[in-house]
Amino acid sequence: MVIGVARTDFEKLEVYQLAERLADLTWRIALHWDQMAKATLGGQLIRAADSVGANIAEGCGRGSYGDNRRFAKIARGSLYETKHWLRRAYSRDLLDAGQIEQLRSIIDELAPRLNAYIRSIGRAACNPKTDTTDYGPRTTHMSTLVDDPRVIEFDVRTDEMLVNMGPQHPSTHGVLRLVLRTDGEVVSEVTPHLGYLHRCAEKIGENLTPRQWIPYTDRMDYLAGMNMNLGWSLTVEKLLKYEPPEKGRHLRVIIAEMGRIASHLVGMGAYGLDLGSFSPFLYAFREREKILDLFEEVCGARLTYSYLTVGGATADLPRGWLQKCEAFLEQFEPIIAEYHALLTTNSIFIKRTAGIGVMSPEMAINFGTSGPVLRGSGVDHDLRRDGEEIYTAMYDGYAFEVIVEKDGHYPKDHKYPAVPHEAVLGDCWHRFYVRMLEVVQSIDLVRQAIDRYSTAEGGYGEPRKLTEKLPKGEAYLETESPRGQMGFYLVSDGSSIPWRARARSSSFCNLSVTSDLCRGCLIADIPAIVGSLDIVMGEIDR
């Protein structure tokens, strides 16, 4: 039973149901009294008994704690009045033993529950079924009786405060707004609000040809624009039943995995910021800049690339680029140890993240999370391996392991720092760790792709014509973008402009767990948990 706030479902309240039973019972009893008793006692009794439930209901509808509490107290007054009239009826021999027994059982239950209800008003709603966090006596249910020892603690409780974290807040990653209900430092409820960055990208997609919509996909997950380009291109290619040439396939792997590294670098650096450590952010950006330099050479843009496109890519890799890319990887790989020293294995970092925001594998699956958030909970799922044929074909023949804790350990293909004993599978630390390991994995993938690309024959895949008619039908494809499974959906009526274009955001599902993960944590844990989900609002709001 959930107690709480300005709710409209008062019918579900146990106090209300008891009050209903009381009112109906007194009615039935008084119905058989004589005229005299009905006119004097009966009317008063029924009015008082009816008033109990009526006031509970009215208080519920008022929408504020103050009003609700006031009406609940009036209900308590009415209950005492009912008791008075029943005592009068008893002393005037109007009640038989069976009726007294029935009435007493109701009143004995109703009175303490009403008291507990009054006390609970204004306290956070806690659902004992979904709530696994134990935060002390605040998890109270309707069964709390007056003689319950916990009740005494309620009397010295502090007032709750409703705080808006965002949309203008340093650590809500853009324009996310979280409404926190806090009691001191303890957060009892977190409600995310979205939509501050909505740009109607999907509607625009219904008015442009697929290739013209590519720049709009850049602006979804703007930290991994290349991977967004890839997702949409593959979806259109699925509809067209087109397969890019082998060289183009490897080119896409190079670019997509470099995009993944660049994106995870931001995720890692920003997570350090969330925890109050500024330097790792700049260390991460230093390396990201180098990747952006490489991307700039490839397509001229540093953030919104529009490089990978339907058919392949807008241009081949420039001469000498592969050597530069290899040189970067060579230089970048040893630096990862620095990140591990500053964050992953830093004892304060472990203190702040280990055991915080623990998400079970079942919960991760039920909420539809994906990417590192899902794998951080120990679910072995990566679309690069488990995805649709048209996507996994890209990674055909590549040697890589899915970064996930299997049989109690992570892949052992490289020397990774050990998992600290405080860390629990599915907590913030593991989500962060998965990202860090995926960077290493991506380095391997890029190296393999460079080898294959340089030996592959044929073209890199010319872009398809802008005005090319799409075949009638629909296509949906999910790809493994850095933040999770990014899905694109395309319905065509046979013209060159899609009839419907949709995007399924991974960050959206990943964000949906915040309410449950943040319940009962401290304010300082909110940035830690939200940061570990690594959301990008541009993708959520589209």
């Binding site: 405060m161 430092e185 925890l275 500024f278 304010i523 300082a524």
Partner: protein, 432 residues
Amino acid sequence: MAEFLANYLPAWLAYMVAGAIHVGLIINLVAVGALVFIWLERKISGRIQDRLGPTRVGGKFGWLQTLADGLKLLTKEDLVPGGADKMLFRIAPYVSFCASIAAFLAIPFAGGDYPFIVQHVNTGVFFVLAVLGLEVFGVILAGYASASKWSLFGAMREAAQVVSYEVPLGLCAVVPVMLAGSLDLVVIGDVQQGWFTNWLIFHDPATFLIFWVYFTCATASVNRAPFDLAEAESELVAGFHTEYSGLRWSFFFMAEYGSMFSVSLLASILFLGGWNGPLPITEWLGLTAANGDIAWYIGQVLGVINVIGKAVAGVCVMMWIRWTLPRLRIDQVMATCLKYCTPLAAAFFLGAVAWQWSLPGRTFFGLLESPAELQSVSEGWSDATAAATDEDEPEASEDQTVSSEPSRKVAAAKLTGAAALQIASTNLQGGK
């Protein structure tokens, strides 16, 4: 100085002029110190983060950057939120700033018979710690008066933090006091004369370890990362100073950097030899009072450079920590201070007592003979252990031999923190 001026001016005017000069010097020290530290912080953080930091303002190295920032802050609008308690909101930065400056009144910059100090307080350690504790009132006031929920969170955290770090901080400061046998900062500094082996940090293993506990708690007391919970920008927007702008905001920062400087000065006097360099260079060069006033004065100035150098090094370490570590959570800060630092400080205190009791008259981890200045204190220890007689406190006699004539006058006044403030403002003396 007041005595000197009294030869030429009426007494009340002499005291006022002397007071104004001292206060002017201290405010300049704090303000210029903050100016330098903010520039230093930006340079250090820049270098730590592979950047250059400020490079342009003022020619090379951007050394005028802070001044440019200050000018910008001066021109900003002085905003007061509509719902704020306007008076408290306006006062709060000054409370912090005044507390931060007031601590310098009792901090000596050079010792000897005529120490460089605004007011020679013979309970200097107590006074400085007490006044530094006042700084948090400004923070709590600011948070309370801002009418912002984030500010309120910052103030609540500060209040929770202050009760946790004050206890171990005080316990740590007690150890040098015990070893020197005096609460007088001048005495504590002077007993560490000679080689660096006489520094109290190297006195025994317990003092060596308790120095780090002191430094941790001192970092917490000045709200520096990883204990900067009251302003925690990633959680509380800007914490207690969310609603502040312009010059009022900068006063909080002057106070923060001032306190960083004063706790580092305290650390260098209590543990790191104060104005005594690692080697007795001033003695080798004959820069002592025996060789005339000028030589003595140069020696004293060298001492000032020494103590300030050590303090600046301490501040730099704090900056290094800030740009390296993530922030702790409030419960973890309280656990660190109360659950770890307090028992550690208590244990090290007992360790230092036991060491001094079993090895009196030794220093540098018991390897060397104590210098003469420490010996007299040690005699008190050996007397106490041998005879356990009820004679007068050995510290009292020690105090009289080391401290100067005026300091005894102050000692007679039986100072409390508040009385010390009063005396500091009316009875200013110092230097020669």
